[in-house]
């Protein structure tokens, strides 16, 4: 009983979950920014790949992104001890919406209506996959 109570989704946990969504969006925005300068790069041989990585890894954005990965990892792992994965994953798939929005605003990408509907399908799929996880936990209890 106590365990069930403990795993309830509180407002504080929800805020942290949404914070990880924003952090994840920020991470990928940084990664994209660091890779953007190399967009004309064609890799044919292994040495080319090393030159590519060298220039990307010397970008400050990449390290900012990696820092945000570590912060996300710490928040995420402490959240998972408080709530079930089947609750956490659907809330975190919010980033599937945040990323296209951020791409439009910060990267001037164009997202067509058709792509938005694709995103919607993925989102639905993720919710279904995590619903099936909660079913399993019920059986275990």
């Amino acid at each position: 009983m106590i365990k069930v109570f403990k795993k309830k989704l509180t407002l504080k946990i929800l805020v942290f979950l949404i914070l990880t969504d924003f952090l994840e969006t920020f991470t990928h925005l940084c990664f994209k920014k660091s890779a953007l300068t190399e967009s004309d790069f064609v890799i044919n041989k292994l040495p080319d790949a090393l030159i590519f990585l060298q220039s990307v890894f010397s970008s400050g954005f990449l390290w900012l992104g990696l820092f945000s990965v570590v912060v996300t990892f710490i928040i995420w792992s402490s959240l998972l001890s408080k709530i079930d994965l089947s609750v956490a994953v659907p809330v975190c798939s919010f980033s599937y919406i945040l990323i296209p929005i951020a791409s439009i605003i910060f990267l001037q990408e164009k997202v067509s209506l058709f792509r938005w509907s694709g995103v919607l399908f993925i989102l639905l799929g993720v919710v279904f996959v995590s619903l099936s996880a909660s079913e399993k936990e019920h059986i275990l209890e």
């Binding site: 990928h28 890779a35 790949a49 001890s81 599937y96 792509r115 993925i122 639905l124 799929g125 996959v129």
Partner: protein, 128 residues
Amino acid sequence: MREGLGFILFLIALTSICDTINQLFLKSAINSLFSPSGNIREILRFIFKLLLVPRVWVSFLFSLISLCIWLFVLSQVDLSFAFSADSMHYIFIALASRFILKEKVCFKRWVGIILIVVGIMMVSVSVS
């Protein structure tokens, strides 16, 4: 760009597979330790102990490979496309649990996977 799409999807699949392997190793390493209770200090101690497990380093190696491929993918295509297509790791995890771990994958999960596949196809079609 069109001919390159198949190659980019292949690379995204590769990062997803690396991520799946990474998570399998991480999960197995975490399972070998006692899970921490809520407070921050215990979590930090737990992470420190985790770093001493060799399997975690295998997991890190795979995430590093995944990151390198991911950065290349991002240099070639839109973030909004790449991130959506990256959701194919849900498919690999389900397939891995079904065929490697011999877990039962229930009907709802297959429905979810089919929805994700349809979504990825729709997102890929609109790559200009």
